[in-house]
């Protein structure tokens, strides 16, 4: 599904990713953890094609395609989805309209017929139910005046609708209280399936109490320095990131 090897990337003059390797198979959920400044968000942005990051070495293949050669919208149409750490406000742009345009552009690129307003509304109501969201959300402008929790849930709602092959959740837990966190996690879990892979980028272990990962990776100074099962996250929680860094220096 996704294969990252030897990935190096700069922001400006500074090298942030220093040779990152990661393999994600179909249906797997991988957690990428690490302290602030370890390169977690950079990694998520490089995968989704954001400008301002210069890839200097390495390769990323997704569904057999050279991901790095594609524009952000082409990546999205291939089935890559980034749930933003800071969802962006689009004043005046109706949420339903936005979602319909996004879904139809993806369907069109796959040679599927575009959905008309009626079938789209039916679909959207179905998805709302799964995520226990209020449909007043649909009438509002994208993310405008949304609370932190609503923004994050809106991201997961978009994910439910666009049905990606690979979802990258960039610190989706940041800024959420425990109830909101549970709602988001429930949403994500409902979307797990044999055909859908996920990379959950997070600073804290607590999200992983709700979203159980198949693999946990620890990112430090732009490299994955340790990988393991979900018990690795618990161990991290107990001992702190210092434990990993110290271990690495000792090694």
């Amino acid at each position: 599904m996704l294969s990252v090897s030897g990935l190096k990337a700069n922001v400006g003059e500074k090298e942030i990713l220093k040779g990152l390797d990661l393999q994600v198979g179909a249906g797997e959920v991988h957690a990428v953890m690490g302290p602030n400044g370890s390169g977690k968000s950079t990694f998520a942005h490089v995968l989704s094609g954001r400008e301002g990051y210069e890839v200097t070495a390495g390769s990323v293949t997704f569904e057999g395609r050279d991901l790095l050669a594609l524009e952000p919208e082409e990546r999205a149409r291939l089935g890559l989805f980034l749930a933003f750490q800071y969802p962006v406000e689009l004043p005046g742009v109706n949420n339903t309209y936005f979602l319909k345009a996004a879904l139809n552009s993806i369907r069109k690129s796959r040679g599927e017929p575009e959905l008309d307003a009626v079938s789209f509304l039916r679909l959207i109501r179905e998805k709302l139910k799964v995520l226990h969201l209020d449909d007043s959300l649909l009438k509002r402008a994208v993310n405008v005046g949304f609370s932190g929790g609503e923004k994050k849930r809106n991201e997961i709602f978009q994910m439910a609708l666009l049905e990606p092959r690979l979802a990258i959740l960039d610190e989706t837990d940041s800024g959420l209280d425990i109830d909101a966190l549970r709602l988001v996690a429930d949403g994500v879990n409902a979307l797990r399936g044999p055909e859908r892979s996920m990379i959950v980028v997070t600073h804290y272990q607590r999200l992983l109490d709700y979203i159980q990962p198949d693999r946990v990776h620890v990112l430090s100074k732009g490299r994955i320095i340790r990988s393991g099962g979900k018990e690795l996250a618990l161990e991290l929680e107990e001992k702190g990131y210092g434990w990993i860094d110290a271990g690495e220096q000792a090694a």
Partner: protein
């Protein structure tokens, strides 16, 4: 001043053929003097009072200065090099087929989904049959006649309803008003006349599109709309399809008069040829539009979507004379490439408890220059007057500019004024967010821009709003990057 022989020929030919004969082509030679003004009036078979009216305007115009205060730049116009009268164009003057038309224009027609015959008409190619609009227009006329609404060309009105024309023409925009209004008054070619009788709600949206003889009304268009007490009319002007015109200078005058409890809604979509990438050949659109809320509780509402022309210079205004009268101005203006626009409104509060609303949305892309210029004046006797102004600019790219000049004059202590202004840029974050959801950059821009303009589009008649939205997307294609 001795008239040129050609002018005399025209004058003579009028006598020869009578006033109503259609001569296929008669264009006055370039230049403007009293003989030319007389020739225009005579060619149109106007009564004496009209000729005198034009001459008075002409003489005054001679003493006037071309305004220089607008924030627009263009080469000096030589008013003696313009021909001030040309009858409807001969087919052989225009392009002979679509092959001869600017491909960029045709591409736009395609995107707007305009039928081929209409494309030809818009591009100035002679079309044999004027598709369905003849029959449509006839049906319209019958329905309107039943309601007592007069909807015709201003030339017809001068002939058929001289008393109305005499009473109202120039009563809102006098020939002394400004340089271009003076010029227009002297030489106006044709335009629209609407009269809605007392208590009548006009049974349909009036649009020049359905007025058969509206084509080639020329560069000096004159519009006069009169709404008698308690009446209502909605008038649509323009067309979303880009229109070409051989005449570079357009100086129109629009006058609206709303009597007691009457309401006039005037919507414009202006999409004249903006010129090529360097701005060459684009239209100069110097327009004077003004509405007079003459009666108590009357209302005049201007809605405009301005995307065309090389230079736009217009300020649709309201004089709120009647007590409790209402003025509104909703505007979306787009400047891209090398387009320049200096536009806004004037709300002159004279009556008590008068209210006005201004919503102006300016979008600037490429090297576009845009200025909002607005005046809100509350006079000494306008007790309880209120104004709300909202003025937003959206910039796309970093070579465009937007300026705002709000003038506020308040002479009554009870006035309530609100002014909000914002300037924003479409951010990289917004574009990336949209692209990460599978939308192209262009789709993203058009979505954000349409969201930005929503308040104004909501004021447009439904069909127009949909077209305007489409037009905006097409206008801004390639605006980013």
């Amino acid at each position: 001043m001795t008239p040129t022989p050609a002018v005399e020929d025209i004058v003579r030919s009028d006598y020869e053929h009578g006033f109503t004969t259609e001569i296929e082509s008669d264009t006055l030679p370039p230049g403007l003097d009293e003989q030319v003004v007389r020739a225009i009036s005579r060619r149109k078979g106007e009564p004496e009072f009209m000729t005198e009216w034009r001459l008075k305007a002409y003489r005054r115009w001679l003493t006037m200065q071309e305004p220089a205060w607008a924030s627009v730049h263009y080469p000096r116009i030589d008013f003696q090099s313009i021909s001030y009268y040309s009858a409807p164009k001969r087919p052989e003057d225009g392009p002979k087929s679509l092959d001869e038309v600017d491909p960029a224009l045709l591409e736009t027609y395609e995107k707007l989904g305009i039928p081929i015959e209409e494309q030809k008409a818009l591009a100035g190619i002679a079309v044999d049959a004027v598709f369905d609009s003849v029959s449509v227009a006839t049906t319209f006329r019958e329905t309107l006649a039943e309601a007592g609404v007069i909807f015709c060309s201003i030339s017809e009105a001068v002939q058929e309803h001289p008393d109305l024309v005499r009473a109202y023409l120039g009563s809102v925009v006098p020939h002394t008003d400004n340089f271009y209004a003076g010029l227009n008054s002297a030489v106006f070619s044709d335009g629209t006349f609407v009269y809605v009788p007392k208590g009548v709600r006009c049974p349909m949206e009036l649009s020049t599109y359905f007025r058969i003889n509206a084509r080639n009304t020329g560069q000096f268009e004159r519009t006069l709309i009169i709404a008698e007490p308690g009446s209502y009319v909605s008038y649509l002007e323009g067309c979303t399809a880009p229109q070409r015109d051989e005449n570079q200078l357009h100086a129109a005058v629009v006058e609206l008069i709303a009597l007691e409890d009457a309401e006039i809604k005037y919507s414009t979509v202006q999409n004249w040829y903006p010129g090529d990438e360097e701005g060459r050949g684009g239209i100069y659109n110097f327009v004077t539009k003004r509405g007079d809320c003459r009666g108590a509780r009357s209302k005049i509402s201007w809605t405009q979507v301005e995307t065309g022309s090389a230079i736009t210079w217009k300020y649709p205004s309201c004089i709120l004379r009647g007590d409790d009268s209402i003025g509104e101005f909703y505007s979306v203006a787009v400047t891209k490439g090398r387009q320049q626009a200096d536009t806004g409104t004037k709300m002159i509060h004279l009556g008590k408890n008068t209210r006005s609303t201004i919503v102006s949305k300016g979008i600037s892309a490429g090297q576009g220059r845009q200025t909002y210029r607005g005046l809100v004046r509350i006079s000494q006797r306008a007790e309880g007057a209120r104004n709300h102004t909202q003025c937003d600019s959206l910039l796309i790219g970093d070579r465009c500019s937007a300026n705002t000049f709000p003038y506020i004059e308040v002479k009554h202590p009870s006035a309530k004024m609100e002014h909000e202004a914002t300037t924003s840029k479409i951010s990289d974050d917004q574009l990336f967010y949209c692209r990460a959801r599978g939308l192209t950059e262009e789709d993203a821009v058009s979505m954000i821009v349409n969201g930005f303009c929503k308040e104004v589009f909501n004021e447009l008649p439904m069909e127009f709003a949909v077209e305007a939205q489409k037009l905006l997307s097409i206008s801004l294609e390639g605006a980013v990057g």
